[in-house]
């Protein structure tokens, strides 16, 4: 198989036109000593038919569940067919970054719409075109906040572990500090925050809802953070923002998050989409692409990549981030998803997730041994105790093709319920919990 159109004869003629005798001549600048002497040791080439059936058989080794009650940073929502159909148009899929605005108005306009959607969901002033994922968005936001003498990010033990890990990796590489403080009842501890907020603190990062699914009292946190002249970064799940108070309403300086919930498949963790939005005051510190609206010489509306003086290709080592390629097609998908479900639809997704999660929490926690771990207000995830080895619960659920919640290190279970989980499924989980623990 090959994707080369040229025939052997055409290639020979072209080679002759270059003045070279053999293909090897074209590589004469490659020192003999580093030339590979043997072919690459890879599996034999196969036809597309063979490769696809092989890949299908590999996919079949994955286990597909009919119902999913697991979240912890990736959420199973319904994705309307129209979203998949439009986002797979090959003009979008096979284009590069829109460096040439005249032939890229379609892509630039979608990114402009994406930025508008993010600003509307978060209430923030400005959004960039997105970054790799929610965790790297948090790390990039930290970089935006650092200044001379202020080199520390403060966060809580109730943020997603994967986000904390990425924050630490980025901080460690940059010689910056991440301080993790404990929680009270699963929520950020204001007292401890007050102590940690010294004048080396650049910013505080909280998640809304947090890893445990709880809704933080972000108002009090914001006041405290700003009193100490630090910045507040809020990691908000975008679907929840259809209902929850926005980071802007809380006074956050930067809002970030994992936008996978907006129409992106679970896909074993990627590609996902990190969104980043800020107040106007922080606009010029945002990393990555930003699209702006302008006009052409005839006064027609036109969109362009703008404020590029922030970026690596202009600023090089003085840029705050090296991001170049981002997750543009995911941003396009998220935009189309938001337009497809629309204003009412996103509210419905969020409120159904909320109502069903509360129904499930009530049902599960009524079963002996499955009490709710925390009493705080939650969105669509909650933690229950588990009176037995939680793996036993998972296997029993798996037998009915249900993926149970995530088992936490403490042996408790973090459940997630979204609009796609039906009442019947929730009831089924409850009855399995009962069955397993009754014996």
């Amino acid at each position: 198989m090959s994707y080369i159109p040229g025939t052997a004869r055409e290639r020979a003629e072209m080679l002759a036109d270059t003045g070279c005798k053999s293909i090897d001549d074209l590589f004469s600048c490659v020192p003999e000593s580093v030339r590979l002497k043997a072919p690459l040791n890879l599996p034999e080439a196969q036809t597309e038919f063979e490769v696809l059936s092989d890949i299908e058989s590999i996919a079949a080794k994955n286990r597909q569940y009919k119902a999913i009650f697991r979240g912890a940073g990736a959420y199973n929502h319904f994705i309307p067919e129209v979203v998949k159909s439009l986002s797979s148009r090959s003009e979008f899929v096979t284009a590069y970054t829109p460096y040439q605005p005249e032939v890229s108005q379609g892509i630039l306009q979608v990114i402009f719409e994406y930025q508008s959607v993010i600003c509307r969901l978060t209430g923030m002033d400005v959004s960039n075109a997105g970054v790799y994922d929610g965790a790297s968005a948090a790390a990039e936001a930290f970089a935006m906040c650092r200044e001379r003498g202020r080199n520390k990010l403060i966060t809580f033990s109730n943020i997603k572990p994967q986000v904390l890990s990425v924050l630490k990796t980025y901080a460690c590489s940059a010689g910056a500090k991440v301080e993790v403080i404990a929680c009270v009842d699963g929520l950020a501890d204001l007292g401890a925050l007050g102590c940690a907020l010294d004048d080396t603190a650049a910013c505080v990062y909280i998640e809304q809802p947090n890893y445990y699914g709880l809704i933080e009292n972000a108002q009090d946190i914001a006041s405290l953070v700003h009193e100490k002249k630090a910045k507040l970064i809020m990691g908000c799940e975008p679907v929840s923002l259809a209902l929850l108070k926005t980071p802007a309403e809380y006074g956050a300086d930067i809002a970030v998050g994992e936008a996978q919930g907006l129409g992106l498949e679970l896909s074993f963790g990627g590609p996902y989409l990190g969104y980043m939005a800020s107040t106007t005051a922080n606009m010029r510190k945002l990393p990555g692409r930003i699209v702006g609206k302008t006009t052409d010489s005839e006064g027609r509306d036109a969109y362009v990549l703008t404020l590029q003086a922030r970026e690596q290709h202009i600023r090089r080592e003085k840029a705050s981030s090296s991001i170049c390629s981002n997750e543009a097609l995911c941003a396009l998908t998220a935009t189309i998803y938001c337009a497809a479900v629309g204003r009412e639809g996103l509210i419905e997704v969020a409120s159904q997730s909320y109502s069903k999660a509360h129904y499930a929490a009530k049902l599960f926690s009524a079963i002996p041994g499955f009490g709710l771990r925390f009493s705080g207000e939650f969105f669509n995830e909650f933690i229950t105790d588990c009176p037995c080895d939680a793996k036993k619960i998972m296997s029993a659920l798996a037998e009915r093709s249900i993926l149970g919640g995530k088992i936490l290190d403490c042996g408790r279970i973090l459940w997630c319920v979204t609009e796609v989980n039906t009442k019947a499924q929730i009831d089924e989980v409850a009855s399995i919990l009962k069955e397993v623990t009754a014996v």
Partner: protein
Amino acid sequence: MSELIFEKSHEGRRAVYFPECGVESVSLPEKYARTSPAPLPEVAEVDLVRHYTNLSRKAYGVDNGFYPLGSCTMKYNPKINEAAAALPGFTHMHPQLDEADAQGCLEIMYKLSRSLCEITGMDAITLQPAAGAHGEFTGLSLIGAYLRDNGMSARTKLIVPDSAHGTNPASAAMNGFTIVNIPSTPDGFVDLDALKNAVGDDTAALMLTNPNTVGRFDRNILEISKTVHDAGGLVYYDGANLNAIMGIARPGDMGFDVVHLNMHKTFSTPHGGGGPGSGPVGCKSFLEKYLPSPLVCEDNGKYTFFTPEKSIGKVQSFYGNFLVYLKAYCYIRVLGGTGLKQASENAVLNANYMLEKLRDTYDIPFEGSCMHEFVMSLDKLKHETGISASDIAKGLIDNGIHPPTMYFPLIVHEALMFEPTETESRETLDNAVEVMKKLYETAKTAPDTLHAAPVTTPVGRPDETAAVRNPILKY
């Protein structure tokens, strides 16, 4: 018309309906609720479909035509890759699944990692980075961790040639390194004397793109890596240009310690209008223990995750852009070792063919053949006619060709960088050559028509200065 989706919104319109909730509806306590609904668009499905279909017609991808965007390897993106990445057996996999439930995903990760090690001559690979620059950040973090771990924290200087892509120095700065820029020769090669002067006790590493950003293979490559190693530093390989050398030479054999690859260039995964990409990082065995967590190992057909002993931690929430590198896996399986080599040979052949045909007309700032891409300078033309690299680029647009990369590398003035890739036919190249020659004539005879280009597009050249002066960044 360029109306936004928001401007097509009508209160009460819907495209998607949801089943009845089925449980009692509870409402969020007011103190946690947003004061007003997020004003998202309200449109019918047909509005939505027309809106985005029409926008797609104002986009230009590899599927639309020739896209010789240098340094970006805009090769054809095989459709089978998309089919593989659309299999529910992959798209429905939750990243928080236990290993036992995701054996197929782990198998792909394992096998792809092995193949990439073979292609690059490295010992271990992480698939976690989401793009090339993310790979750079990750690879340099490995180097930083290694230096700290071995009492070499005083090695803080990262040497970067002035021909490097902007992401190189930016990634180095993110890792807290001090950047030492060294000049290149006019061919974009490393200036060996400058390198020898730059290395020392404080050298952390050299970061190098090879073939370089002018499209040439540095014949001193072994001496370069040796010079840095002798000084106690490491060498990092920016693999953006790997499409020139697959099956021909390997970064690992050239003495490099770390390499990043771009699945969205070399391995045919589409670029999505800016992403998602995938930027795996390979390293030699002495750096493996620092790789991001987790890696996959295999035992008797069973795949498991493990955390390297001194892992730098995670660089992405889960396992990287799985569906993207799944496409790369598919591509490597279809081509095999022979096919990959053939791809590189033809990429180099196509570039040289174009180069030879254009050499008499345009200024090529170096002698001899190129690798998979070449750079021309329009400096002289600009002085003579006022026509810049950008003007020629816009002229290409009016002829149905996507422009090459402009103004990169920075060491070539008024640069245009052509990378035709192996998947283009001779007619396509001939046509592009003819258009380029015609544009040269136009530059000499009727420069004003080029200043006005493009005229065949939905909009002409946007006023970028106004966009910066008065930023309008949302509706």
